[in-house]
């Protein structure tokens, strides 16, 4: 049940109507024989949300529902145990139970075959022939997201930042909450869990902004990402691309992955708003970043802050000198890369980001005093910085998108291969004119958002202009929206 399907639209409408209209205390009190207490109504609502979330997940593959339930039960029990015990050693052991079971799940389902393959290849390169033992398991949808979410809960309880959740129902609903279950944002228990404990109101503003977010997300996914993806796919399918084909392909992928993932997040946030919840923002105009650390404050914010709080800082952060800081950055980003997928290309992607963070950390204090301009020169430098860093990020998308190191190598060779007739080169990439128009549209809107400092620029426009924009968006949606329901890129992680 993908967010861009009509089945999901029907599901969302049914769930929202049932949860926010039928299961309201005011309604239940009147229709239920003997009346219903406010707390009881809330429990029913949460139980309904849990059931809906399980139905949503089972629609992907019901067999993996057991993993979700297992993860929920383990972390709920660990949370309670951590709340009861005060002895540091015992608490540490309980935390270890959570870590081992969650990371164990990830290890078995996501990484076992990758490491088995890599180990066999290593032995092979040393002259020992070994047939790797493979589990060949299907990767459960969203496993990387919900394991990180439940892990953050137990770690926060262990650290004493939040109290343990006493209601299994609330906790299970928090872990399985369907708008963010399969591709995030990875919510912190401190932010999301309390929302299950209080009465949630869907105000007119919430409904309106939710609808806007869902509409924006669908437009980003179905119109921009799905159309631009055909250009990226065509480019990466070429065996010997030339420089222009590689560059256009990687630009297309940069637009695709941003619109795909941020579109998903917008739909998730909009859906949650219709249910009375508030999810965190996962993207903040990432391609306007001027440095790697700025990029990670804008891109997949819930993951980067997770990695910062539960990996980078526990490793020592920047408190142990420049060398250790660089090492910590590299380790964090390597694991961040590996989190995305069990492949060396993702590890390389993580390593590149680790390297960039380290280099910028070293360069910034040295260059900043020399580049302290004022007035138009400062704006110009800022603009150049944004453009330059966008290209650096595009370069890192190469290993991220490449299916294997061979494909990556052929792209790198391609970058040095001069293009002949540019129109012939582009012709091999299919629908690049439409992709260009859609990218220009995205860039235009984002420039307005960046300059005005808000994501809701359209809402500030005079009504006729806003209505005209809506009408144009509907027409563009109908005309260029992808025929078939294409999966979201981040579902594979």
């Amino acid at each position: 049940m993908s967010f861009n399907s009509i089945v999901y639209a029907a599901f969302l409408v049914v769930v929202c109507l049932t949860s926010t209209v039928l299961l309201r205390h005011r309604v239940l009190r009147r229709i239920w024989p003997g009346g219903v207490r406010r707390q009881q109504a809330l429990e029913w609502r949460n139980a309904f949300l849990l059931a809906a979330s399980y139905v949503f997940y089972a629609a992907w593959d019901y067999r993996f529902l057991s993993l979700l339930v297992f993860s929920t039960l383990v972390d709920f029990a660990v949370g309670l145990a951590l709340a009861r015990r005060t002895e540091p050693q015992v608490r540490r052991r309980w935390l270890l139970v959570s870590l081992v079971s969650n990371l164990g799940l990830l290890g078995v389902f996501k990484y076992f075959d990758f490491f088995a393959h890599s180990f066999a290849a290593l032995l092979g390169s040393l002259g020992f022939e070994a047939e790797p033992y493979l589990l060949e398991l299907v990767l459960p949808v969203g496993i990387s997201f919900y394991t990180f979410q439940t892990l953050s809960y137990t770690i926060d309880v262990y650290r004493g930042r939040i109290g343990a959740e006493r209601s299994l129902l609330n906790f299970a609903a928090f872990v399985a909450f369907f708008p963010q279950l399969v591709a995030g944002p990875i919510e912190r228990a401190a932010d999301l869990l309390p929302q299950f404990r209080r009465t949630r109101l869907v105000t007119a503003h919430r409904f309106e902004s939710g609808a806007f977010l869902i509409g924006t997300g669908l437009f980003k996914k179905v119109v921009i990402a799905d159309n631009v993806s055909s250009v990226a796919d065509a480019s990466f399918a070429l065996e010997q691309p030339d420089a222009l084909q590689v560059v256009v392909g990687v630009y297309a992928f940069a637009v695709q992955i941003y619109c795909d993932f941020s579109g998903y997040t917008d739909i998730a946030r909009g859906s949650a708003r219709w249910l009375g919840f508030e999810l965190s923002r996962n993207f903040n105009l990432p391609y306007f970043a001027t440095s790697p650390s700025d990029f990670w404050r804008r891109w997949h914010i819930s993951l980067s802050s997770w990695l910062r709080d539960y990996l980078y800082i526990p490793l020592g952060g920047n408190r142990r000198g420049p060398r250790r800081t660089s090492l910590n950055l590299m380790a964090t980003m390597l694991l961040g890369g590996l989190w995305h997928g069990a492949a060396w290309t993702f590890v390389l992607w993580g390593a590149l980001h680790g390297l960039l963070l380290g280099v910028y950390r070293w360069l910034e204090p040295r260059l900043a005093p020399k580049l302290a301009f004022v007035g138009p020169a400062r704006s110009l430098l800022h603009g150049c910085n944004v453009v330059f860093f966008f290209h650096v990020i595009c370069l890192t998308w190469l290993p991220f998108r490449a299916q294997d190191t061979g494909q990556l190598a052929s792209r790198l060779v391609g970058l040095t291969t001069p293009s002949g007739d540019w129109l012939t080169s582009l012709d091999a990439l299919g629908a690049w004119p439409l992709a260009t128009v859609l990218t220009a549209l995205l860039l235009g809107v984002q420039l307005l958002q960046y300059n005005q400092g808000t994501h809701w620029v359209v809402w500030r426009w005079p009504m006729p202009i806003r209505a005209l924009a809506y009408a144009a968006a509907i027409l563009v949606f109908v005309w260029t929206g992808e025929d078939n329901e294409m999966p979201f890129v981040y579902f594979q992680f």
């Binding site: 009509i6 089945v7 012709d427 806003r466 027409l475 109908v478 260029t480």
Partner: protein, 361 residues
């Protein structure tokens, strides 16, 4: 909130103004005909705007290329005059709704739309081939879904097309396309936007503004585009290797004939019976090499199945041997399709068969 509602209402107003402008500028709401997906998309607007004609041809591209509406119309009129002389003469409109790659499920969908047309055709000529009972080369719901309405999607899902929900957007768009010409024009606009340098894409967009009679549309009783070009009599030599490559994995027992396709076929026959529209099943010609190199059981099994269905549903079935026509090498473009001369020959030979078996009123 109130402002957003007003905004949406105003946006709808803008869309309606755009719709009225388009309707004022265009003569009708049909789509330019093209092969593959374009044919499927053109079907419903065509029926909405021009009805089904008196004789409708259905089937795959082999039926489209083999039965030429203008030739058949003339031959039928002549044959009818011979058989049943009428004062003032009869009028017959032959329309060819056969679609590329259509298997029994897609033909079923075409027949459903034809039966819903106002008025429905008097006779449906169903050109049958063994390939229509295969499933190997089609995604069961993919092409068919371009002609779906929401009820059809549900029906297909109920009958075992598990991926039907994936194609629901097509069904929703088709429902909307009944009301909006802008929605109808989607494939044409999309093609032009995706490949603006492609002559073909602009040609379609240009055709939107052309008078219908200037187009090449077999659904409107004109010759199909391939039968009009300078290559219409071009012959590609077919050898054993090409046929083997073509037949790769086709017609293998026990999957063949596929039960789901047979079920769709049976459904088509019963739909016609229920609605009182006459149906005629005609086996389409295939190059001798294709018959020779197909698995042995293919054609006998195919004939047996259609003979059984013919008896069960009281629908005439005409095997190719019973059509009075002799083909030569130059009549086949390749193993499956006829050249223009072959198609003229077959269409002429089909007229007396239709008069004899078609129960024309």
């Amino acid at each position: 909130m109130r402002q957003s509602v007003y905004c949406m209402l105003l946006a709808l107003g803008f869309l309606m103004a755009a719709e009225f402008t388009l309707r004022a500028l265009r003569r009708d709401g049909t789509l330019p005909y093209s092969y593959r997906k374009g044919g499927y998309l053109a079907l419903v607007p065509e029926l909405d705007e021009h009805g089904a004609g008196s004789i409708a041809i259905v089937g795959s591209s082999r039926a489209r290329e083999a039965i030429l509406s203008p030739t058949l119309e003339k031959a039928l009129l002549a044959a009818l005059r011979r058989e049943k002389p009428k004062p003032g003469g009869a009028t017959i409109e032959v329309r060819n709704y056969a679609l590329s790659g259509a298997h029994a499920d897609a033909v079923n969908q075409t027949i459903r739309h034809l039966l819903d047309a106002e008025p429905p055709p008097e006779l449906i000529v169903y050109g049958v081939t063994p390939l229509q009972l295969e499933t190997q080369r089609t995604d069961p719901a993919h092409h068919v879904s371009y002609t779906w309405e929401i009820g059809d999607a549900w029906d297909a899902f109920r009958r075992g097309a598990e991926d039907a929900p994936r194609y629901l957007p097509n069904a929703v768009r088709n429902e909307l396309a009944h009301a909006s010409w802008w929605v109808r024009l989607r494939p044409t606009v999309r093609a032009a936007l995706r490949r603006p340098w492609s002559e073909l894409a602009w040609q379609d967009l240009h055709e939107v503004w052309q008078a219908p009679e200037q187009q090449a549309n077999p659904m409107r009783g004109q010759l199909p585009p391939k039968q009009q070009g300078k290559d219409r009599n071009r012959v590609i030599r077919v050898g054993k290797r090409r046929i083997e490559k073509y037949l790769d994995g086709l017609y293998q027992e026990p999957e063949y004939p596929h039960t789901r396709q047979v079920a769709w076929l049976r459904d088509s026959l019963s739909l016609c019976r229920e609605s009182g529209v006459e149906l005629l099943l005609v086996e389409l010609p295939a190059a001798p090499a294709l018959r020779r190199y197909s698995p042995e059981h293919t054609y006998p099994g195919f004939n047996r199945l259609f003979t059984e269905l013919s008896n069960e549903f009281d629908v005439p079935f005409v095997p190719i041997d019973e059509v009075d026509v002799t083909f030569e090498a130059r009549d086949f473009r390749e193993q499956s399709h006829l050249t223009y001369v072959g198609a003229v020959k077959f269409s002429r030979a089909l007229a007396p068969v239709i008069v004899r078996e078609g129960r024309l009123r």
